[in-house]
Symmetry: none
Subunit: 225 residues, 2 copies
Amino acid sequence: MTETKIKPITVIIVEDFKLTRVGLRCALNANPDIDVVAEAEDAVEGLKLIERYKPDVILMDLGLPGMNGIEAMIKCKEMHFDSKIIALTSHDRSEEVIASLSSGASAYCLKDIDPSKLADVVRDVSTGVCWIDPMVAQMTLNALPKIESVGVLPEKSSSDGMVPLTEREFEVLKHLVMGKSNTEIAKELIVSVHTAKAHVCSILQKMCVNDRVQAAVKAVKEGMV
Amino acid sequence: MTETKIKPITVIIVEDFKLTRVGLRCALNANPDIDVVAEAEDAVEGLKLIERYKPDVILMDLGLPGMNGIEAMIKCKEMHFDSKIIALTSHDRSEEVIASLSSGASAYCLKDIDPSKLADVVRDVSTGVCWIDPMVAQMTLNALPKIESVGVLPEKSSSDGMVPLTEREFEVLKHLVMGKSNTEIAKELIVSVHTAKAHVCSILQKMCVNDRVQAAVKAVKEGMV
DNA sequence: TAATAAATTAGACAATCGGGTAATGGATTA
DNA sequence: TAATCCATTACCCGATTGTCTAATTTATTA
């Protein structure tokens, strides 16, 4: 049963302090299911390594010299790998927390985190979990938009009275979000323009929006695509 | 190690389905460090029990009959215990997620979560961690305010060699993202339609996109708005 | 002062969009 | 079997879009 071994979670560490870097690597490599494949001491080098290794998880220090961690995360997201990012700092500035989480990070850890707990976070994050350190959890939650609606749950129905899209409509929606015209969508899906238009039309109605721009924005914001 | 036993994490479950309730209790009580001290099948009863037991963690179903879970959480927070709340549902409506997290929940789990993982979440949350299920993590992070307001970035930032937009163009872009037509944008900014069109045109060129949909999507994804 | 950039307006034109209405075949369900 | 839902196609029509050229004013910069 040599083949029952599961592929380990690959990790890249981007951190300028040598000592911290060593500490992180040791803490993580102590776990057989986690594999630190590369390390960088600045963002530029880090981005190169990320491009080469396409790791599952990136441990990103925020206080890097030169390009800071947040800029690096933004560039990282633009590369469209689905690497998950854990933001790592020693301080807890509110703006920095929010900025990193809204710029691509899936987790926020303070550096005094317990090493074994960090490994847990790496595992969690690799599956898509959002994990936020207790020290900054409350401030993050407070930054979420308040919803003044006692009627948030007036029966189920839908996400704003949203009728679920059919499979085909989802396909169309994806192309729509890419900015394709009805003609282009029709060509991609090998149907007539009329069909594409029909789908778009019913997408707009089901999503309760007036035009394709609103549909695209809503789809992106709600992570439908 | 009878004397090394640590005080277990106390938990109250508020869930209307008997079967789910039993399942939750079993899954959690299987852990010696977790103690389900009480259960309720509706919010009113739940609040009474919470007041009596002041548990470390509350497992709150959102789809309760009568007073719903979100209302219950708000009332719960008003009681000023520092119980942590885990919101629990079987669906993943965007508004429900945001609403519960901004109303007091520290975690959001979908009901198909692995039982042993749930125990981990209970432990995490009891220490103050914010934990969000992978299925809804992205949409939650997207709901966080974008960074342009935060002075974390040393000028400009993202966008690969993108020509910077002028102030006016940014205004237009904001309206564009809301799905407004050129006519509507013109009306809002008190200019002629020609002007609005001119701005849109130069926005498209500067952002290197072909149409307003792509512009809107790019703006949202890169947090320009 | 001269040059440059931004904001504004205008007219025109082909292409596209969104909303109607309506019909057909296939699949699933009551 | 009848009733629905979905995907598909078609036509019409008014509104909107994106691009073009071209002009004026203001503010900033060289």
